[in-house]
Symmetry: C2
Subunit: 254 residues, 2 copies
């Protein structure tokens, strides 16, 4: 599996660090588990009955390389491996481990996880906000909440930060699709427009979408619960935003 | 989801009862989780890229009724629901909960679980013993081990009983396929012979396979670890064997 950006585990470990990270082995396992779920979703999303994608991260997709049956089983096994990874590390702190299993399951399955999000694509009428919240947002909420829980903090105060980062990710994706070049994107640009897909740029215009992204990021930073690494996390969100949207788009002229 | 026989959760709760069952809520969750994994495997096994089955338990299969994308997501969500069910109940006893998650994951995923077992079907050459052990045996081992762990006992001594029950299940299935009527089976008889599939009856003959089944059941009973409900479990294995193979086959003339 080629690396990918590993954004979700990076957020998870950053939140754990900001909370003191007194069980780094558990944090690492949580980060790995979250990325395993993300990889499972990519393998299944690429299947012929979904996106029918022949390539992923510059390599043949799993079903193209190894057959459709093995791609289904690979996705299944990656889901299972995520929970196995958590269980193995949780021996050191079973109470936190059980909570991590619960959060990861809630944000992966139905009715509030990425499986539910993907399921919206089979519906004739889609609640777009619920769709984005589940399909894109759920694993970002898992990232912030699992980072906090791995470090011994409560999950609930960290939900909003994850949700806001997920929203920002979505708007930034819309902006890159509308403005980016295939070179920036690693995939064809202008796909939303071409397929008439609703997105932030078509709804708000470019300036409107940029303003919306800034608002979301401001809200994300304001939502960070008080913790030892609060300032560090605020910086991280800002840096992360600059990565999401190339500087040339966020600050024209720079 | 129509009921099915629920053999695996019945074995799990029987072992837990034999071990004292001091946390019945955790036992129930473990039994439900195990059956959810079994159901997930049925939904994915029925997919067009595997068995392409239009019916399951007398109803349209999930992909036939609701589309292939939703069947893939249903299987994924059932896997996740299994671990979520365990996590929710494990709050009462996180140490046992984490061990249950680990055992269920090990017997579901790769390289030793039912996903690996199903994967053998994509290989040109199959190690038949490893195939049966993973595809059929793994969830029976999960059943005995999870029952013991839910009741606070060690998992390891219970592996052999699960493995033997799994073997018995396989030989009994071969016998029913060779001797049974579609009425007994709920599916067409003689499928192994028709497809040239290796099985205990073609390898050992009917009498040989019956002898093998009796040997396995004797071994299963002998392997039961000493526990308060040892005698009750031995009776259960005997009763279960009679259910597996109709009396008219096991004891002709009765």
């Amino acid at each position: 599996m080629p690396g990918g950006a590993r954004i979700r585990p990076t957020i998870l470990t950053s939140v754990a660090l900001a909370c003191g990270d007194d069980r780094p082995g558990l944090t690492d396992a949580a980060a790995a588990a979250l990325e395993l779920i993300h990889c499972a979703s990519l393998v299944h999303d690429d299947l012929p009955c979904f996106d029918d994608a022949g390539e992923r991260r510059g390599k043949p997709s799993v079903h193209r390389a190894f057959s459709e049956p093995l791609a289904v089983l690979t996705g299944d096994s990656l889901i299972v491996a995520a929970f196995e990874t958590l269980a193995r590390a949780a021996v050191a702190d079973p109470a936190r481990g059980v909570e991590l299993v619960g959060i990861l399951a809630q944000r992966t399955g139905m009715p509030g996880g990425i499986c539910a999000g993907q399921g919206w694509e089979s519906e004739a009428r889609v609640d777009l906000a619920a769709y984005h919240r589940a399909k894109t947002g759920a694993l970002f909420v898992a990232a912030t909440q699992m980072g906090a829980v791995a470090a011994g903090q409560e999950a609930e105060p960290w939900e909003e930060l994850g949700a806001r980062i997920g929203e920002a990710f979505q708007v930034a994706d819309d902006l890159r699709d509308a403005l980016g070049t295939p070179d920036h994107l690693g995939k064809p640009a202008g796909q939303d427009d071409r397929h008439g897909r609703p997105n932030a740029v078509s709804a708000l215009g470019i300036d409107g979408a940029m303003g919306r992204l800034r608002d979301i990021l401001g809200g994300a930073i304001a939502s960070i619960p008080s913790c030892p690494g609060e300032a560090m996390l605020a910086q991280l969100v800002t840096r992360y935003a600059q990565k999401l949207v190339p500087v040339s788009i966020l600050h024209p002229g720079e």
